[in-house]
Subunit: 371 residues, 2 copies
């Protein structure tokens, strides 16, 4: 499905751009951050809260949803939109990330990946064709091709082999798609090797994908390496398709990513950090650890400048108490704060882009970074 | 503080009655169910959800809040209303229940109870005076006297001794109260011995308490024994003060309690059961175990007659998936269903009482019980 992506504003001193696209479940304004709902729920948050916060698209995960509840149940329940009461867009990761993160539980071949699943050890087979089939069952608006993601530390030959397999798998995914309302994105691999990245862009960008993702970053390389690779790769991607930087990152990564021409981001960081009491404050420029005793008696909010649901109602001392006593409400209220901050940062960047002042926004944001 | 309790309707064939009282934080219509917020949060639910569901009063726990966050922090944070963003009424259990439930961690003397707390083993001393002091720090609208609650299986002499100590402690609590906006309830003990119960009613009901609780039930006795003891005790309590049955119970217990003249109930059951997937349906007459495979593919709600937030949005299959994958959203959505059902049942009873048809309501409800 053509997403009818339109770039509506550009920064004249960076690669940053602002636009929108349309899925079967509504409009997505870019640049966008997509909260991660691995098991068909963004951990700690309800769908109406995500809507209230302005989330326009969330993630689901092909591998995890194939394990539980499984494809047949997904189909019986009408797919993720219906069962999770989520009316807006869904992008599904293909399971490629699990090829790396569950490396000890899988065998890879030209045909695909066989996992011993992490729950009960039963086999889960993920081929390009089956990855599409599962994403169909999920009812994904934007499907990802199955890719082979090696760790950044892998030898060049291995990175190259994985990249070439990813190309062959991407073409098989294209051939396997049947659903008219599902867009399909290819994933660019090649590690931090600029030559391989360029080769992979050339191999995939002529194919009729609806968007392109930069994969294989934030998996062990240094932050400068990540930015350099992105700076090299993103501008080579077709300008008229959305560009998605997978699994990234911190608030500053979002800013640097947008400046390098990225339109879409996802990361578990805002929710995972929140559950541990690690909270972003000051527009994302600082992080605090709520477990610290200095917050025990604080009546005021964790972030005085924040207008999220949590900060408008609850003080740091109470939130710390909930966290220390392992109360459910902690994960919920703290996730709400972090996700709000991420979504707000993206909205601020879009606004700056539309107003032609992204370069100033970028400078101003970074000038406030701690020491 | 006088709660200005008024009985506004009575059933002419049972002891059931309907009324209202006023705390510093608003009006409470009775009979009422009070969700339990042991650690200053009703597990899985946010305060605005409790408000939306119509909860007018929730519980906090003196012992647990004295352990965490502790009295000094409670005071620094402005008490439970402020910190937990709960604008309506709060009743606090005195820690008497923990005298029983944490029996292995405490020593009891005439002065009070010394616990080795369940978190880090530090001492927590609970005397009648200190129980009041902690409840002051919590900012409780209705405080409970510290009581000595023996298990139902205890020998008569032990039950009698605990009862007499409870009387002396209740009088010390009366003497220790200082806050003008906190009501104080006495707790009637005496196990399932009708003679002891009557003696305890006589010992306490002449004192200027603002309400009276029946304690020491639902702690090991049979259900008929509980109902008999209640039937014997509740009508002897002053008719012009609220009567509170502590820690009870199932939906049918609420119905039978109201029929025996009880005005207030609390129980962890709706939230605790929910977290395990044990859900009340059919107005509370049936329970289902959501882990059962028969729900895996069910698109429809867990209870087709329920109008709660959860049942209006989510099907049983998805809720089961959340439960099986240990997602936070499960505790939240399922607790919301069970608590809604409890609050709805109480509202239905109040309506029936006001309409003069409680006896019919009672018969009708019970006629639908499963074979």
């Amino acid at each position: 499905m053509d997403l009818n992506f339109r770039v509506e504003a550009r920064c004249d001193s960076t690669h940053a751009r602002c636009g929108r696209y349309q899925t079967a479940h509504g409009e997505v304004e870019t640049p966008v951050f997509m909260p991660v709902g691995t098991q068909a729920t963004v951990k700690g948050l309800a769908p109406d809260e995500l809507e209230d916060m302005g989330a326009s698209i969330i993630l689901g995960n092909t591998y995890h949803l194939a394990v539980r509840p499984g494809v047949e149940v997904l189909e019986a329940l009408g797919g993720m939109h219906t069962m999770a009461h989520w009316k807006r867009s869904i992008l599904t990761d293909s399971g490629g990330f699990q090829v790396m993160s569950l490396a000890k539980l899988r065998k890879i071949s030209e045909d695909g990946v066989r996992f011993r699943n992490h729950v009960d050890g039963a086999y889960v087979d993920l081929t390009p064709e089956r990855a599409i089939r599962i994403q169909d069952a999920i009812g994904s608006d934007i499907m990802m091709c199955l890719d082979h993601l090696p760790p950044t530390t892998a030898p060049r030959a291995e990175v190259e082999e994985a990249m070439e397999r990813t190309t062959r798998w991407a073409k098989r995914c294209l051939a396997a798609r049947t659903r008219p309302d599902g867009a399909l994105f290819a994933i660019i691999q090649g590690g931090i090797d600029h030559g391989l990245r360029t080769r992979h862009v050339e191999a995939l960008c002529g194919e009729p994908f609806d968007g392109f993702a930069v994969g294989g970053l934030s998996v062990g390389e240094s932050i400068p390496q990540m930015y350099e690779t992105l700076e090299h790769t993103a501008p080579q991607l077709p300008a008229d398709k959305p560009r998605y930087l997978m699994g990234v990152g911190t608030p500053i990564d979002l800013l640097e990513g947008v400046a390098r021409g990225v339109d879409m981001f996802d990361c578990v960081m805002p929710t995972r950090n929140a559950r541990k009491g690690s909270l972003f404050v000051d527009r994302g420029r600082r992080k605090l650890n709520l477990k610290n005793a200095r917050f025990a008696r604080q009546r005021g909010p964790i972030d005085p400048d924040c207008d999220c649901y949590t900060c408008r109602r609850f003080g740091a001392g109470y939130l710390r108490h909930l966290l220390k006593t392992n109360e459910f409400l902690a994960a919920r209220l703290l996730s709400r704060h972090n996700v709000h901050l991420y979504l707000r940062l993206m909205a601020d960047m879009r606004r700056a882009l539309r107003a032609g002042r992204f370069a100033a926004f970028y400078r101003d944001w970074k000038s406030g970074l701690p020491g």
